[in-house]
């Protein structure tokens, strides 16, 4: 459990940055970073503030051939983005989003005719490359999940967008459904994978969706973390 109490959360974040947590706890904090902006800020605070201490370790020349070894691996190493995202379901840090952005997206959603009947979570989906441009907003509540485009996002001709969820710490995504042409998908029963700390993603698929319910067949074009309201 990630504590809500300010002091407890800050102490936990400090212990996480120091690296003294038990492995299970360390993983729990890591997984929660994607969805918990307060925790993210607390971790960032400690990394920045404690950083001068690292200068107590004297600089040492690394082995002379090390750069060549690194360079030789770059060809086989895709950078963060579409492919990378699926390989790393629980990235240990995410770019900061923040609650202001969540609130703004929710207002936008309501203004566009959404009816968030007491939603518990909101998810803003954006391109992995452009995190400041939200293309879909999903709300999750007792009445299920609703996702709609807020940027008139359309799949390529003859293709469809399919929505996926990946549970915190999970390595395989779960198909939620194909988004109809009007850009709005409602799912009445809440998929179990959609909870705090999970990630939603949208891939480009054949009209009926990916043949494999646990793996997108096309590129992942939008992603977003499930955030608490």
């Amino acid at each position: 459990m990630i504590p809500e109490d300010h002091e407890e959360l800050n102490a936990l974040a400090g212990e996480y940055v120091l690296g003294v947590l038990e492995p299970a706890q360390q993983r729990e904090v890591q997984a929660a970073l994607a969805s918990n902006a307060t925790l993210r800020d607390a971790v960032a605070f400690w990394e920045e503030q404690l950083h001068p201490l690292s200068s107590l370790a004297a600089p040492v020349d690394p082995p002379a051939d090390l750069w060549n070894k690194i360079e030789a691996r770059l060809d086989q190493t895709p950078q963060a983005g579409v492919t990378r995202w699926w390989n790393q379901p629980a990235p240990w840090r995410w770019a900061t989003g923040g609650f202001a952005a969540v609130a703004a997206a929710l207002l936008l959603y309501i203004a566009l005719g959404g009816s968030p009947a007491a939603p518990n979570y909101v998810v803003m989906l954006h391109s992995p490359q452009q995190q400041d441009q939200t293309s879909f907003v999903a709300t999750v509540g007792r009445d299920g999940l609703t996702i709609r485009t807020v940027a008139a996002a359309r799949p390529p001709a003859g293709r469809a967008y399919e929505l996926w969820a990946i549970a915190p710490g999970a390595s395989t995504p779960q198909a939620i459904g194909v988004i109809p042409e009007n850009g709005v998908l409602r799912v009445a029963s809440l998929p179990p994978d959609v909870r705090l700390g999970a990630t939603l993603a949208i891939s480009v698929e054949p009209p009926g969706g990916s043949p494999d319910q646990h793996k997108p067949s096309g590129p992942v074009v939008f992603v977003g973390a499930v955030e608490s309201l």
Binding site: E15, V20, L50, S54, A58, P78, Q79, R84
Partner: protein, 185 residues
């Protein structure tokens, strides 16, 4: 902050952003500028040169892969790089164990904890941290330093300080909370 520092800080951030856009020359430049510092940090934690080299290699692959997740408003970039290397080094230590401390001064094993505050004094950016560390009691300060710089677990700190595990956990925690309230004031 002096101009020279500002340029230094900006350039690390700029290089990481260039790496995020796929620039290999930027990654190489980052390596040239930061590898001695980062290798020193890794070596201090893992103690074995061959393991430290693996840690640094994996860290730079991770930097290449995840440069997009770095955001300049989070800081100048040095702390972000350090965080990646420290976590890699801690993983390696937890996985492979650690050599017994050698008391080799080149590995920083000499008894240096008590004068942490004085040694930080030479670091311009460390002003607030130095002042706040100075307010902690000795045990809290040693716990925080051994964990951050040497990558010691609670149990390793307890052994080093010949103190009960429960006391160490509490010193770490209270040290952090005292630091936080001082750094925020």
């Amino acid at each position: 902050m002096s101009d020279a520092q500002a340029i230094g800080l900006t350039s690390t951030a700029t290089l990481i952003e260039a790496v995020a856009r796929g620039s290999r020359p930027a990654l190489k430049r980052l390596y040239e500028l930061e590898s001695r510092r980062l290798y020193g940090i890794a070596l201090r934690i893992v103690r074995r040169p061959e393991v430290a080299a693996d840690v640094l290699q994996e860290a730079f692959i991770q930097i290449w892969q995840n440069a997009q997740s770095y955001s300049p408003e989070r800081g100048a970039g040095g702390a972000w790089l350090t965080g990646i290397v420290r976590f890699r080094a801690l993983d390696a230590v937890r996985k492979h164990g650690r050599e017994v401390l050698s008391d080799d001064p080149r590995l920083g094993d000499e008894a240096q904890e008590p004068d942490v505050v004085e040694r930080l004094a030479t670091q311009a950016e460390a002003g607030a941290l130095r002042r706040c560390l100075g307010l902690l009691d000795d045990q809290q300060r040693r716990c925080v330093t051994l964990a951050f710089v040497d990558g010691f677990s609670h149990a390793e700190i307890a052994e080093r300080l010949a103190a009960p595990l429960g006391s160490v956990k509490s010193w770490v925690r209270r040290g952090l909370l005292a630091l936080r309230s001082c750094l925020e004031s």
